[in-house]
Symmetry: D2
Subunit: 142 residues, 4 copies
């Protein structure tokens, strides 16, 4: 069986958009992930602050890395995000995904996004469905 | 007073991330917007399908263009998205933002994301707070 | 196989809280329900307007009647409600549940709550998980 | 100025539906509340388990008691609830409302619902708008 860290490394390797965001994985445990990125000028919206889609995307990656890392392929059903403080270019964001509920068929996760001043800038909630398929193929033992 | 179309043109002009996404504005009316984009290879996630943050970002731009276009600067409070079908590279997505409620201090919008086969791939809901500030500065008449 | 109407009649018969609310079922079709109730004095909150839990409960019943009526036992995962207008004692509310997505393992429903002036007072969204179990036992044919 | 405890006592006194639910207020602090109730037979739904509206209503009362207790009248905008475990008749539920964000115009609260086995049965999130009006009238000093 691959470890949670191995599953996330496998996911991150193929995840072109998380790479574009500049995401670095800081920590992975069963049902948990902690990742970071720095905000760039190309991520701002029409108000000169950072586009809501950037914070959402960071949280959504942390969610995926947390809910899939037992190698049970899980798909997002319903996610929500509350925006608490504006994010600016050059801010360093950290997303921490924690497991609220690990059900057989579904799971619930909460992701906090913190900036470099340790302020909570957004709170994300994600509910996933577990397909029961493997993410990283495991060879059957002989 | 700027028209809804002028307000959105002003927003889009400054919106670096919507430009990166390749968003084109198709239609704007009071409290309404319709926008489109084509999905590129750099937008996929660790499963080889399109990252949830891309659909969210498209919907969030449509939401912003709809809820701000009366030139009353509005900020997103709570948004949610349900993912109904996977999105693939080269899919052409259209987001249609409709106003459910236009309150004095808050507003509620629903955004449908449709693919080129006219399938609903995601449904987004956004609640905003109206600041009462102008987005595009209007000179006072003399 | 029981019809959608039969499944909902079976549910309503056992549903003590929907009975307390005074719910009447108006219409049932596959993945759809329309129900009504009148608000009573014992349903108000600390502001003298109707408690948010009443509108939620009405919508949640309409959701359950819509998502279960193909006799595939479904449980609510994630639900949300936006409150748009206050509700007063003696208001007559109608909840209309529509199916947005009917997946094999999950479903998405939207419920509008309308008052007697045909105003939208709340909008509810519900995501359910389908267990695959029967709600009304069907005897196997011989 | 009334204390948070006085504001909640004032609210609870008028709150007919919280009284019907059998809610007892356990603890109140600024932006915080902890309340409890026991589930009765008349609160079950069509599956013989407790209606989702009951857990929502308990959480919504805790939310209202937390977000209003600085005597700044606040109204619910967007609320959501995730159901994690079924609730049965005679279960004793405790709802704990914590303030995530206390903004000038809006606030964000999270409410955990725990049963008598200390299991998390539901998680509620509420976003409110602050009207700036007083809940309990304060006489101006002379």
């Amino acid at each position: 069986m691959p470890t949670p860290t191995e599953v996330v490394a496998h996911m991150m390797h193929q995840d072109a958009f998380s790479q574009w965001l500049g995401i670095t994985v800081l920590e992975v445990n069963e049902g948990y992930s902690k990742i970071t990125m720095m905000v760039r000028a190309e991520m701002v919206n029409g108000f000169g602050i950072v586009h809501g889609g950037i914070a959402f995307s960071l949280a959504d990656s942390a969610f995926a890395f947390a809910c899939n890392n037992r190698n049970n392929l899980s798909v997002a059903l319903d996610t929500s995000i509350n925006f608490l403080k504006p994010v600016a270019v050059n801010d360093v964001l950290v997303a921490i995904a924690r497991e609220i509920h690990n059900g057989k068929s579904t799971g619930l996760y909460q992701i906090e996004i913190i900036n470099q001043k340790n302020e909570l800038v957004a709170l994300f909630k994600g509910c996933c469905f577990r397909t029961g398929k493997q993410l990283v193929a495991v060879k059957s033992s002989l």
